[in-house]
Each structure stands twice: as structure tokens, then as C-alpha cells.
């Protein structure tokens, strides 16, 4: 198709401001700002949880406060921190990486951001309106029905998530259309950078998964406010129905949060290995496999529900299958590094950290797909450890890799490598100290979501270690915020292409002009910038 200029040049220096902007880069920054703010809030909630659990039978917070804190921590981190951070980077980078001037629907893009943010604000308004939701992030019925949760917390959960989800769905439509229709000349779908590939797959996943959540939320709202009985066994409903609907959303949601981070390290690792990605087709194709499979594994969250051996066996098999394309990715990243010329920048450290930690989360995930092992450790701290190895050890380390990699493009200044190293190693130590012991705690019987535990259980020492780890992790995040603040003001000037990188975003200025490129580029391979810099040894194809 021919490129239609959607962007209109304004007089130099004229900006419409953050509230009215429809520029994909500014909206990307808004998303990232939202993600960072909620990440800090969710982190403080986590510290409160860890402080209460540091010693047995502690009374730092009352049970009600604790239950609100872990509920809001989960919702915040997943829907208000990680997803906006990933969508923010996609918003900023995808048009630049495919050589477009903006996303397909810039105004819709603004709408999706503001809906996402308003959803978060609605959720947090519950604190002022009489109490936050206290039924866990997956808010199982009938505990979330009015008979057992009479306050307004769950209603704010329903409204907040529905509005936030609408924003996410609209954003996914926008990114899908952008990637399918707005690639620059020569950029076949087999040539788009892997971060763009992962964003496309993620967007399709969002379109399949989020509507199930929206439907479930509406049904719960009908139950709570209009006297319905969808999830109320006493009225002929089914408690398990909520779980099916929720996890039909919830498990693809895991890949919605992991795939874009995998995309980020699939950009970082080749650049800092000075080699093209190994097995581009397999890395991209395995994402499609993961996406398909992810809609067929939801009941592995429900092995202990009593669905029966046949159902459990089927979902066990599909859940194990999904480990295969995931493993393929890990092998390809390592093969990319083999034979390369590795520059261990902070971005690369975090990318390697992603692989090292995600392996642990992936292997404990396989253990959880084994039904009898799952029946032993599900709903325990083993699961808490597993999900944090995937979402912090995986996704968050990937996001940090992306942040160190793209910060210079977005701001024109480099983040400090010195502080970056401190940030990485403190994160690495604090993260493992926090979550590694939780595998053992779960295996010996500590359920998740308990506000305290009896001294006689003997779980005190490992919990104390976990809390100390969380404190170190908090210090690491302070280092990161200091790095951000200092570099924004006085960081080293980056130039257009500080990493000697391969993809189109590095061919324009840092930060890019409002129209991204003075001329829409044309590409002939997967590494257009490499081809331009090394005309004598262009990539084949």
C-alpha cells in the first residue's frame, strides 16, 4: 500500500501539551509514566506485605488491610504497571521501528491511554470510598459476591478493570492495524524487528483474552448490583464459571506481559552481540505457537477445583506443550550470543538476567503443569515464587533492558552505566533473596494470601530472608529512579545511534522529531541500519 501522510507539521516549537497530545511518542511517554508511577505504588504495597510477614504472628497491619494490600498489589502490578509499561514502549517504538509517522489511529491512541489511566484511578478511588477490594487479584466468586464482600471495593474493582481493559483493547486494535498496514516500503512482515512481531502477537492475544474478562466483570456486576446469580450456587449459578472466564483471560495475560519483554531482549541481544538474531523465523514463529496454545491452558490454574482427571490431563498436556516454543526462544537467544562480540552494557546485563531468571520461572511452570505436583503446591508460596520469576525475573528485567536501551533514543541522553550496574546487581541479589526461598515455603505448606502464620510452623526464618531481599530490591529501585532523574537532567548526550544498532528507530534523531523521519525510509532487509552503515556487507535477502 502507499504511505498516506497522517502527520501534519506544526510550526516549530508548537506543542499541544500532554493532555491533548495524539503523538504516539508522547502517548508512549504517558503510558510509561503511568506504568512507573503504579510500579512504585505497587512496590510500596509489596513492602508492606513483606514487612507484615517478616516474623510470625506479627500485628503490624490488621488482616483487612493486608488483604486489601495484596489484592491491590496484584491488580496494580499486572494491569496498571506492567501492561502500560509494555504498551508504552510499543507505542513509542513500533512506528519508529517500522518506518511510520505515527500509529494508524492517533486520536484512538489517546483515548486508549486515558481509559487505561482512568481505570486505574477508579480502582484506587476505592480507598477513599470505603475500602479497596480485598478478594485477591482474581477475585474468586462467591467470595466476591455481595453476600461475602458487602463493601464497595469489589465494585470499584469491576469498574476499574472494565474501563482499563477497554483502553487496552482499543490500544491493541490500533497497534495491530499499525503493524499490518503502516510498514515502510520494503518492510515485509518477515523483516519487521522482533519487538514489533511480539507486539503484534500480544495485540492479537489482547483482542482474544480481554473480552472474556470484560464479560466476567459484567456478569459479576449483574450478580452484585442487579440480583443476578451467575456465580452464586445458592441461586443456581456456578462458582467455577468465574474461574473459567477469568483464567481464559488470565493465562493469555501472562503471555501478554511476557512476549513484549521477550521482544525487547530480542532487540538488545543481537545489537550487543553484534550479530543478527539467530533463528528469526523460529523466534517469531514460536511466539505465534505460544499465542495459540495460551488460549488452551487456562484450567491449569484450576487443577485443584475438581474438574476431573480427563480435563486435568488435557490441560496438563497443553501446558507442557507451551514450554517447547518458550525453550526454543531461550536457545535462540543463547545461539545469538555464541560467536558474537558481546558488549556487556547495562541493557545487555538485564537481557541476560532475563534469560537466567526466566529459565527458573519456566521450569517451575512445567512442574506446575504436572497435575500431582500442582495439587501439592498450588495456591502456596511456590506459586508466588513462580509467578514472580516469570513477571519480575522475566518481564521486569526485560523492561529494564528495554529502558536502558531506548532511554537515549527517547530523551537524547544516556542513562549512567555506573548506576546501571548498581541497579542490576542489587536487583539480581534482592530479587533472588526475596523469591527463591518462597519455593521452599510453598513446598512445606505456606499458603499464599495469609496475613500471618503460626510461630509453630517454622516458616519465620525464610520469610525474614525474603523480607530482607525485598528491602534490597527496594534500594535497587531507588538507584534506578536516581539514575532516571540524574540522566534526564545531565546525562551524557547520546547522539542518534549510541549503540551502533540495527533498526530504524536509530536512524532518526534522539529524541525523534514529531514526524519521526524526514523521509519515509525504504528497507531491503531485517537490519536496515546495518545495511546502511555497511553497504559492503549488507544482509542477504
Amino acid at each position: 500500500m502507499t504511505a498516506i501522510p497522517l502527520w501534519v507539521r506544526r510550526p516549530a516549537g508548537e506543542r499541544v501539551g500532554w493532555l491533548r497530545t495524539v503523538d504516539h511518542k508522547e502517548i508512549g511517554v504517558l503510558y510509561i509514566g503511568m506504568g512507573v508511577a503504579f510500579f512504585a505504588i505497587g512496590g510500596l504495597e509489596a513492602l508492606l506485605l513483606r514487612a507484615q510477614l517478616a516474623t510470625p504472628e506479627a500485628t503490624l497491619v490488621d488482616p483487612e488491610t493486608f488483604n486489601q494490600a495484596f489484592t491491590v498489589h496484584g491488580v496494580t502490578m499486572i494491569l496498571l504497571a506492567v501492561v502500560p509499561l509494555l504498551v508504552g514502549f510499543a507505542n513509542y517504538m513500533v512506528p519508529l521501528m517500522i518506518g511510520a509517522r505515527d500509529v494508524a489511529f492517533p486520536r484512538l491512541n489517546a483515548l486508549s491511554f486515558w481509559l487505561s489511566l482512568v481505570g486505574g484511578i477508579v480502582l484506587y478511588f476505592s480507598f477513599l470510598a470505603g475500602g479497596a477490594p480485598d478478594t485477591g487479584w482474581f477475585s474468586y466468586a462467591p467470595l466476591s459476591e455481595r453476600a461475602f464482600a458487602p463493601g464497595t471495593g469489589v465494585d470499584y474493582y469491576i469498574l476499574g478493570l472494565a474501563v482499563n481493559g477497554a483502553g487496552t483493547i482499543i490500544g491493541a486494535i490500533n497497534l495491530t492495524v499499525t503493524i499490518l498496514l503502516m510498514r515502510c516500503p520494503g518492510m515485509a512482515i518477515s523483516r519487521v524487528p522482533l519487538f514489533v512481531w511480539m507486539t503484534l502477537v500480544t495485540s492479537v492475544l489482547i483482542l482474544g483474552a480481554y473480552p472474556a474478562l470484560t464479560a466476567a466483570l459484567v456478569m459479576l456486576f449483574v450478580d452484585r448490583q442487579l440480583g443476578g446469580h451467575f456465580f452464586d450456587p445458592a441461586g443456581g449459578g456456578q462458582a467455577v464459571l468465574w474461574q473459567h472466564l477469568f483464567w481464559f483471560f488470565g493465562h493469555p495475560e501472562v503471555y501478554i506481559m511476557v512476549l513484549p519483554a521477550m521482544g525487547m531482549i530480542s532487540e538488545v541481544i543481537p545489537v550487543f552481540s553484534r550479530k543478527p538474531i539467530f533463528g528469526y523465523g523460529f523466534v517469531a514463529g514460536s511466539s505465534v505457537a505460544i499465542a495459540f496454545l495460551s488460549f488452551g491452558v487456562w484450567a491449569h490454574h484450576m487443577f485443584a477445583v475438581g474438574l476431573g482427571d480427563t480435563e486435568n490431563a488435557i490441560f496438563s498436556a497443553t501446558s507442557m506443550l507451551i514450554a517447547i516454543p518458550t525453550g526454543v526462544k531461550i536457545f535462540n537467544w543463547i545461539a545469538t550470543m555464541i560467536g558474537g562480540r558481546l558488549r556487556m552494557t547495562t541493557a545487555m546485563l538485564f537481557a541476560v538476567g532475563f534469560i537466567a531468571m526466566f529459565v527458573i520461572g519456566g521450569l517451575s511452570g512445567v512442574a506446575l503443569a504436572v497435575v500431582p505436583i500442582d495439587l501439592a503446591v498450588t495456591d502456596s508460596y511456590f506459586v508466588v515464587a513462580h509467578l514472580h520469576y516469570v513477571l519480575f525475573g522475566g518481564t521486569m528485567l526485560g523492561i529494564f533492558a528495554g529502558a536502558y536501551y531506548w532511554f537515549p533514543k527517547m530523551t537524547g541522553r544516556l542513562l549512567s552505566e555506573g548506576l546501571g550496574r548498581w541497579h542490576f546487581w542489587l536487583t539480581f541479589a534482592g530479587f533472588n533473596l526475596t523469591f527463591l526461598p518462597q519455593h521452599w515455603l510453598g513446598a512445606v505448606g505456606m499458603p499464599r494470601r495469609v496475613f500471618t502464620y503460626a510461630a509453630s510452623t517454622g516458616w519465620g526464618p525464610l520469610n525474614l530472608i525474603s523480607t530482607i531481599g525485598a528491602t534490597i530490591l527496594a534500594v535497587a529501585m531507588v538507584v534506578f529512579f536516581v539514575n532516571l532523574a540524574r540522566s534526564l537532567r545531565s546525562g551524557e548526550i547520546a547522539g542518534d545511534d549510541p549503540w551502533d544498532a540495527f533498526t530504524l528507530e536509530w536512524s532518526t534523531t534522539s529524541p525523534p522529531p514529531p514526524e519521526n523521519f524526514t523521509r519515509i525510509p525504504a528497507v531491503t532487509g531485517r537490519r536496515p541500519l546495518w545495511d546502511r552503515k555497511h553497504p559492503e556487507s549488507r544482509d542477504k535477502k
Binding site: D62, V328, I334, M344
Partner: protein, 295 residues
């Protein structure tokens, strides 16, 4: 049949060893790549190899084979933990309540402490009267959810006599943390003696504490067999003094703690559905003494 915990233990060991080997392999490859291919050690441009179909097929097929083995083992263990076709010697109905457990031996009810005979396959019939709970005693193996409106089954088989602690594993509201279970595994003779005693009506009659109990709102929720009290919302108290804890694990059970609990349950288990009943000091003494005598 083997105890379910043993089947899970064996499988966990196998999966654990496989996972550990893969973990070591991947991390070693990663460390090797970082050490061997540092730009500071090597000059010049790297060779540009971008794919290798055989390698890709190999590292797709190898995990698939390993997973196939694990899956077969999984199916075997699943059958085993469900009893492998062995009929249970006894069924016990277990019902989850916010935040305590009810166990019924053919109508003889007790709470929070489950007694079972050693080396005997038992099936628990699990359900809930309110929200979803999950029965979990780690040393006895798998957990199983208790859902309102549905009955699930869980095979128990304990190899050794003793006492095993567990607690509710599915978040069930404000006092989820204090919904603890104790499973007391006894010889068949001890178990029969215990069950025989539980089937008897209340051990003491006509004391002052009984009057306090029967003339207050206690009777709305609690049963004491042999009296007019037949409430079912709270634990059956016919033999409450035979149990080790108060409030599903929140306090050890003795007369002094029972008195403190009766004076203000919300102090020890905030959110508990047992209200504070205003009683005089004398009535509290009498009631605690009465309940303490219900062996």
C-alpha cells in the same frame, strides 16, 4: 496403594532432577557465552550465522521428548493419588466454613481436627457452605478445593501415626490465615475409642455453665448433643475440650484461654463470625469451666 504423598514425592524428585539439569545446562551455556565471546577478548567482525534448521529441530524435539516422558509419569501418578481403584475403608464428610472446618463421621460432628486411622485409605467428601476453601495438609499430599454446591473427593492415606498440620489454601476472606487443620492419625483401636467417645452426648449436665450457654445466643450457632442447643452455623461443641485449639488454631485450648476467647473472640480472630457476647465475669467463668469439661 502408596500414600498419595509418596507418589507426589517420587514424581517431584524426578521432575526436580530433570529441571535442575536443564537449569544448570542453560545457565552454563549463558555463562560460557558471556565469558568466551566478550568483545574485549575478540577482535574483528563476528561470523554472521543466522539459522540452522537441524539445530532448531533438535532443540524443539528434545524438550518435547522430555515432556512426553514427564506427561506419562504424570498420568500414572494422577491415577495413583486418586486411589488406584482401591475402595476407601471409610468416608468422612468435610465442610468448609468461614473460617473453620467441620468433619462428619456419619453424622457425628467435630471441628478443625480430623482423626483418621493409620494405613487406611479414607475418602474425604469435600464441600463448602459459603465461599471456596481448599483442604491442604502438606505432609499428606495433594490439596482439593471445597466448593459450595459441589462435592469433591480427596483420598487420604497416612503411613505413620502422628499429628499433621495444614490449613486452608484458597483465599476465603478476612481470617483465611487462621483456618488451620490438624489431622490426627491413630491406630485403629485408638481411633475407634475416640470415635466412640465422640458419639456420646455431652459429658456433664446441669452445671451453671450449661445454663449460661443455653440461655444466651450461643445456641443459635452451636450444638451440644444432649442439650437443646442445635445450631449449625458454628462448630459442634459436644466434645470441644477434646480438641487442641480454639478458633481453628488461633489459641491453644485450655480453660483460661477459652475464657479469654469467650470474653472477646474479635480480639483474637478479628472478623470471625463469632460475636462478642456480653457476659458477666461469673458467667464467663462458669461457661469456660463447662466447655472445658466437655471432653
Amino acid at each position: 496403594m502408596r500414600p498419595p504423598a509418596d507418589a507426589i514425592g517420587t514424581l517431584s524428585l524426578i521432575v526436580g532432577v530433570i529441571a535442575f539439569l536443564i537449569f544448570v545446562g542453560v545457565e552454563a551455556a549463558l555463562v560460557y557465552a558471556i565469558w568466551r565471546y566478550r568483545a574485549s577478548r575478540l577482535a574483528g567482525e563476528p561470523a554472521r550465522f543466522e539459522s540452522n534448521r537441524r539445530l532448531e529441530i533438535a532443540w524443539t524435539a528434545a524438550p518435547a521428548l522430555i515432556l512426553a516422558v514427564i506427561f506419562v509419569l504424570t498420568l500414572g501418578a494422577m491415577a495413583e493419588i486418586n486411589g488406584a481403584g482401591v475402595a476407601p475403608a471409610m468416608r468422612i464428610a468435610a465442610t468448609g466454613h468461614q473460617w473453620w472446618w467441620e468433619f462428619s463421621y456419619g453424622g457425628t460432628k467435630t471441628a478443625n481436627e480430623l482423626h483418621i486411622p493409620v494405613a487406611t485409605p479414607i475418602d474425604l467428601d469435600l464441600t463448602s457452605v459459603d465461599v471456596i476453601h481448599s483442604f491442604w495438609v502438606p505432609e499428606l499430599g495433594p490439596k482439593m478445593d471445597m466448593l459450595p454446591g459441589t462435592t469433591n473427593h480427596l483420598r487420604l492415606l497416612a503411613r505413620r501415626a502422628g499429628s499433621y498440620d495444614g490449613q486452608c489454601a484458597e483465599f476465603c476472606g478476612v481470617e483465611h490465615a487462621w483456618m488451620r487443620i490438624r489431622v490426627i492419625v491413630q491406630s485403629q483401636a485408638e481411633f475407634d475409642t475416640w470415635l466412640g467417645a465422640q458419639r456420646l452426648p455431652a459429658a456433664v449436665k446441669g452445671v451453671d455453665g450449661e445454663r449460661v450457654f443455653l440461655t444466651n445466643i450461643c445456641v443459635n450457632c452451636h450444638t451440644i448433643a444432649g442439650t437443646a442447643a442445635s445450631g449449625t452455623a458454628g462448630p459442634d461443641l459436644t466434645h470441644v475440650a477434646s480438641r487442641g485449639t480454639i478458633g481453628a488454631g488461633v489459641l491453644p485450648n485450655d480453660v483460661a484461654r477459652m475464657r479469654a476467647w469467650l470474653a472477646d473472640p474479635q480480639r483474637y480472630k478479628p472478623g470471625s463470625l463469632m460475636p462478642r457476647v456480653p457476659l458477666s465475669d461469673a458467667d464467663l467463668d462458669a461457661l469456660a469451666a463447662y466447655l472445658g469439661a466437655l471432653k
